[in-house]
């Protein structure tokens, strides 16, 4: 894009912003200029201060020090509403959906169109019409009248995007908008970003997927520990330079791929079926390997894993553990059979956010380590926490720290620790590195390797092709509720996996889903290595 040629006045100037939370200095003297018609990528590790900065820009937080100059005027707004009124809209990192409301109501939340002069009565028709128009433009497969809570995470994210697009904003901020989107949806998003740029809208774009920068970014700023460490036009910088400035050192190969030695079978499923979700899924996982499970978002991988973990009831099929068929009635029995399951939604199904690190780690193992059958063993608790804080290099002020105060990477390590403490031999990791920065990712992959080398078995569901290619020893691919193939290390390539995940015969490719799949192949370049 030739946007960078347009050297207008900055629409927003952040000047020497400092923000301190009790005990944490999240931002120190941050100054950045943002220009209209430009995508400005904000990069940095977890906890670098990206979200904090955009929350200050959008009026969620009040800065401790510093000024915001929007459209050449100094601003100090007290709530997000004032920022919105100025034309600053945000897609927040955490999904911001009101589950009970319809899609249209979500899109127009807080600025519902009114009838008449007083704007007292709601103009529902106009609201739904406008919402539908925006959705059609984005080519999504749901309606404005659907209830938002019934939609998938990806679809909800599309609602968020529709929300900012319909706002006629001057500045649009997107905090990790693609973390739950499939490639086709990402492509739709990027189209919308192009449109916004054409309309001279300034865009702040936050992501951990550096590959995306190639397509969208005009300019980047890297934050480390709340300090600006790099500012550049995108074309003037290489990816390895970006990574180096984010981490503060050079990371050559953060996957750190290792050759594992596959041993005996640990888990085998045959003909696993949950009606309407997936059918006839059969595969095996072995001691000493990382089995990747690839597929597009919504292919049914999560459901398969939930069913193996006995969180969902299966309609038919068999599960074998170490060669023995076992009928697991509930997750408790799965845990007793040494299966651990790190879910894809950390905040909702992975952690007790308000509880301490310690309580999160020991929860599934309490019963096994009980004193006199009923009592918690506090000595063991302390010992095991300290042990794993060391082993996994978990950065936390202490055992009793409330876990929501930890960074995403450390939270993920706590979840790993939880299943290691539970003496899991089979670890199911569903999107284990979603929303985690490069450094934490690389540490996490090392831990996975260690676990496998020590005789463990990992099943890793991931939507990130590079991750699958970089970490897995073998991969199975799912497509629309079916197992569509298996590739060993030698056969694994981006193209092969994408073919199994999405390609359909020409005749069938009329339904929306398959159309999605087809376009995926092209857009997969976005995420390819």
């Amino acid at each position: 894009m030739e946007t960078k040629g347009v050297m207008e006045k900055p629409i927003l100037q952040v000047k020497e912003i400092t923000k301190t939370f009790p005990g944490v200095k999240a931002l120190t003297d941050v100054s950045i200029d943002f220009y209209p018609g430009e995508v400005h990528a904000l990069l940095g590790e977890n906890g670098a201060g990206k979200s904090t900065l955009i929350k200050i820009i959008s009026g969620v937080y009040i800065p401790t020090k510093g000024t915001l100059i929007f459209e050449q005027k100094e601003r100090a707004y007290k709530n997000p509403g004032e920022a919105l009124n100025l034309g600053i809209s945000v897609i927040h990192q955490e999904l911001s959906i009101a589950n009970e409301l319809s899609v249209a109501e979500n899109i127009f939340i807080g600025r519902e169109p009114g009838k008449g002069k007083q704007r007292f009565l709601l103009d529902r028709r106009k609201m739904e019409r406008d919402a539908q128009k925006a959705l059609s433009l984005m080519g999504v497969n749901f309606k404005a009248t659907d209830i938002a809570g019934d939609l998938s995470a990806a679809q909800q994210q599309m609602i968020e995007i529709a929300k900012v697009i319909t706002r006629n904003s001057k500045l649009v901020i997107m905090d990790e908008p693609t973390s739950s989107l499939s490639d086709s949806e990402i492509e739709a998003l990027f189209k919308q970003i192009e449109m916004l740029k054409k309309n001279n809208v300034a865009i702040i774009y936050i992501t951990h997927r550096l590959k995306e920068l190639k397509v969208v970014a005009d300019r980047i700023t890297v934050l480390r520990d709340g300090i600006v460490v790099k500012k550049s036009l995108y074309e003037d910088i290489t990816e390895s330079e970006i990574v180096a400035s984010m981490v503060g050192r050079k990371i050559s190969d953060y996957y750190n791929k290792q050759q594992h030695i596959r041993k005996e079978e640990m888990l085998r499923v045959e003909g696993l079926t949950v009606k309407g979700v997936f059918e006839d899924v059969s595969f095996a996982a072995y001691k000493g390997e990382i089995l990747g499970v690839a597929g597009l978002v919504g292919a049914g991988r999560t459901e398969v894993m939930e069913t193996i973990f006995a969180d969902k009831k299966k309609a038919s099929g068999k599960v074998f553990i170490k060669g023995k068929e076992i009928e697991l009635k509930n997750s408790r029995e799965a845990i007793a059979n040494k299966i651990g399951f790190a879910t894809e939604d950390r905040r909702r199904t992975g952690l007790m956010l308000e509880a301490s690190v310690k309580n999160n780690i020991v929860l599934p193992s309490l019963r096994r380590k009980a004193m006199k059958k009923a009592f918690v063993n506090p000595k063991w608790e302390k010992k095991v926490c300290d042990e794993y804080f060391g082993k996994l290099d978990i950065k936390t002020p202490g055992r009793e720290t409330i876990i929501k105060n930890l960074s995403g990477g450390n939270q993920q390590k706590v979840i790993l620790a939880k299943w290691l403490v539970a003496e899991s031999e089979i670890l199911i990791l569903d999107e284990p590195t979603r929303g985690i920065d490069v450094n934490a990712k690389s540490e996490f992959y090392n831990l996975m390797n260690e676990f496998v080398d020590a005789g463990g078995c990992i099943i890793m569901v991931s939507s990130e092709l590079p991750e699958i290619l970089g970490v897995a020893d073998r991969v199975i691919v799912m497509r629309e509720g079916h197992l569509s193939g298996e590739l060993n290390r030698a056969e694994m390539s981006e193209l092969n996996i994408m073919q199994l995940a999405s390609i359909q015969s020409e005749a069938e490719s009329n339904t929306p889903r398959q159309a999605d799949g087809a376009s995926n192949l092209q857009s997969s370049k976005l995420r390819g290595i």
Partner: protein
Amino acid sequence: MGKAKEWSEKNAVVIVLIVLIIFFGIANSTFLTPANIINITAQMSINAMLTIGITFVIITGGIDISVGSVAAFAGIFSAYIGLKFPKAPLIGILGIQLGSAIFIGTICGAFIGIAIAKFKVVPMIATLAMMTSARGLAYVVTDGQPVYGLPNKFAWLGAGRLITTEKMKNGVIPIITIFLVIILILMHILLSRTIFGRHVYAVGSNEKVSHLSGINVDAVKIKVHILCSIMAALGGVCVTSKLNNGQPAACDTYEMYAIAATVLGGTSLLGGIGSVLRAMFGCAIIAIINNGMNLMQISSYWQKVIMGMIILVAVIIDMAQKKEKK
């Protein structure tokens, strides 16, 4: 077939209501007489007013257990003002009644709303405090005595009836029922057709998102609590009018039936979902159980037990239907 099933999933409560009507209709010959049906509509009116207000609060994800006390306090207030103007014309009396309700409701509701929105007190405790205090004040101002000697016109709103016939010399249509229907329509429009109504749902569905979207969440909460207290106060004024007498003990524990009616009407205690129209089915169920059991001369002790069980069963049926759908 499929449609009927879908309808029944959404309207389990209507089915419970119909079953009850059929049951009492068979069990007692008076139950389905026009006179009795009219009585039921009049008897449910007061609970219905409290229920409408509570429904708004519950949709925002809150709760209000003070409505009974606020009702009593407002009722007494209206009685005192009424005593001061013994010669007022009907329209003046109505003004006093509505004015008292709005005045007391606004004060109590603003108090509760500010405690919840600004001081972050959990709704249960904020309204518990109001429940205790308003009841206490009702006793303080009356010194425990009923307020009596009100002009007859004071009873028009709560006890009057329109259109007299041969058989029903005192009138057919209770004014309180008409009053309820008017309020109901207004409140239904407010909730379902206005922007404010959307904000009520939005706050209940996701407070954080509402805030980030520029909705003044605190203001919505305060307004909703004022509305709820005004509705409660209207209920209390109607009781005073109906009895032509202000009782400090009035409407004791009515909040429980209002909450039950709201939930029976499909409003979720978690917020974000609900309707004032449907809440009326809940009120009707409770009124019908009371009325039917009175007519059948069932002992008041058993009435309590049966009432508890029917509410439970109705909610279970409703839940089961919704779960099935999932």
